[in-house]
Symmetry: C2
Subunit: 311 residues, 2 copies
């Protein structure tokens, strides 16, 4: 293989009660990366589109190139690579934009080099992209972006990620209101200590959510999608949060929560028609507040990245 | 049916990371209750054995009779009942002694009265026994005692208990050292606030434990049986805790934790031979400390109470 073009999915991290431990991938939006073996022995970024010039083209600083360099070094290869990156989702929106690029890069370079690693083995290299983009090698976006479906990050030391089988009829609707939330603010606003009784409620819900997903029990999923600790604090940073949530739940969303650290919000539902109706209701809710928004509706992505083209 | 004799299992609550939300039942020890329809229209306790005279025979104060009275009132029956209770497990040991009596009573009276309720419907009546015995209607012992297997208490308001399918080859070993722990001390010693990062670790482990149980993944179960919040504090109240834990883990226990609020401790393992060896190693560890102990080894009970005799 000389050339490969790959799509990798956007992701929702901090799935309600599963703050910092549970994320899932969606079929839209996502990023596209194209890699080509080159005669030189460097990793070079030739073009980036869709980022309004905000992403670095310096191979030491861009998530995609950092992932590819780390991967090549690990397999002892000096192969030169030319990269074209097409950002197809907004940056800083809470939908795992950097993770999509990191996962796309890890998946694509692994395929291009003859698949020396499993996706779980490639995950730590994709996490290096998150380190460059966010300052810490979080896995809660990049693991579902790479593995697909719902992924539980049980532990970082040692790294233990558990893919949770996705129920067949699970749809996601994401609304991205056109407002900015600083991720650092979103992290700093959280309290270092939480009440034990609320923590107990949270881990009961995490248990219920995992059981509901594994058993395709939509009522159990819905009952468990409750966040007693993070949502009450972070939702304050997102104008219109309560209005959007009310609109989604009124239209039969199984649950509603902040996507990542916002400002995007997500819902899950049981069929495409409901998912689309929820999307319209959230868009209308924001329109009435005078805030524009984008809505993304898709099935939960269970496959991770896909090859669009190779030769 | 005029008469019924029932066995109900001991239980382990606070299963490591699943503090206050996860419990399971064992095949031994347990309590035996015998109910007989009577000519009078009262609920009477005729005999209690195995309690060294510590349990009340007053029908308003005994767990079993309180459960039966609440059940009969709910179905609008004035049936008189004579009760014989055989305690076959130590009181205040952390193995759900009162829950075993409550579950036995709820199961037996339901059968005796022609099974007007499902076990989930009967659960709130069994919880009334816990309210009399412990001052609060906890479900984390009595739900697994009544339903069998692992049970997740996701929520109390509304009550939502989720039975988690038990892996086929899961054995439990419980050691009960002959020391006393005051349950009130065990509750009071806990801090009202916990660090967010430890809480996140805990709910990641709860997710992993539920996924491991539902998928019969013993390695995942083992990795997830970690308690970063309660164990470090409560284990201080139990002399020999670290020695017993080390002995169990050295002998291939999947995990080790405090049973309920102690002083009993439990382990899980993958076969009977290992479970017995773990039991011997923990008994030896306590013997070397000059402390006597009882060891109980059995399969995890997946059925809940069983009828021993009826006519």
């Amino acid at each position: 293989m000389e050339k490969i073009k790959v799509f990798a999915p956007a992701t929702v991290a901090n799935v309600t009660c599963g703050f910092d431990v549970l994320g899932f991938a969606v079929n839209a939006p996502g990023d596209i990366i194209e890699l080509q073996k080159a005669d030189h022995n460097e990793v070079r970024i030739l073009s980036i589109t869709g980022d309004n010039g905000r992403l670095p083209k310096d191979a030491e600083k861009n998530t995609a190139s950092v992932v590819i360099k780390a991967f090549l070094e690990a397999i002892g290869s000096k192969q030169g690579i030319d990269i074209h990156l097409e950002k197809q989702m907004p940056l800083g929106s809470g939908m795992g934009s950097s993770a999509a690029s990191s996962a796309a890069a890890a998946f694509a370079i692994n395929k291009l080099m003859g698949e020396p690693m499993s996706m779980k083995e490639a995950l730590p290299f994709a996490m290096e992209g998150e380190r460059i983009a966010c300052g810490a090698a979080h896995a809660d976006n990049v693991a579902p972006a790479l593995l697909g479906g719902f992924v539980l990050i049980r532990s970082y030391d040692p790294l233990d990620v558990i893919k949770i089988k996705t129920p067949e009829h699970l749809y996601s609707t994401i609304v991205h209101p056109h407002i900015e939330v600083n991720t650092k603010d979103a992290r700093n606003i959280l309290r270092g200590q939480v009440p034990l009784d609320k923590a107990v409620k949270q881990w009961g819900n995490v248990g219920g959510l995992i059981a509901g997903l594994l058993q395709s029990d939509y009522e159990m999923i819905s009952n468990s999608m409750e966040d007693t600790i993070i949502e009450p604090i972070r939702s304050i940073l997102i104008p219109g949060y309560d209005v959007a949530k009310a609109a989604a739940l009124k239209n039969n969303a199984l649950g509603f929560g902040i996507s990542g650290s916002g400002p995007s919000m997500f819902t899950l539902s049981q069929n495409e028609k409901t998912a689309k109706k929820i999307g319209e209701s959230m868009r209308d809710a924001y329109k009435q507040l005078g805030i524009g928004s984008d809505v993304y509706t898709s099935k939960v992505n269970d496959e991770g990245p896909i090859i669009l083209y190779s030769e």
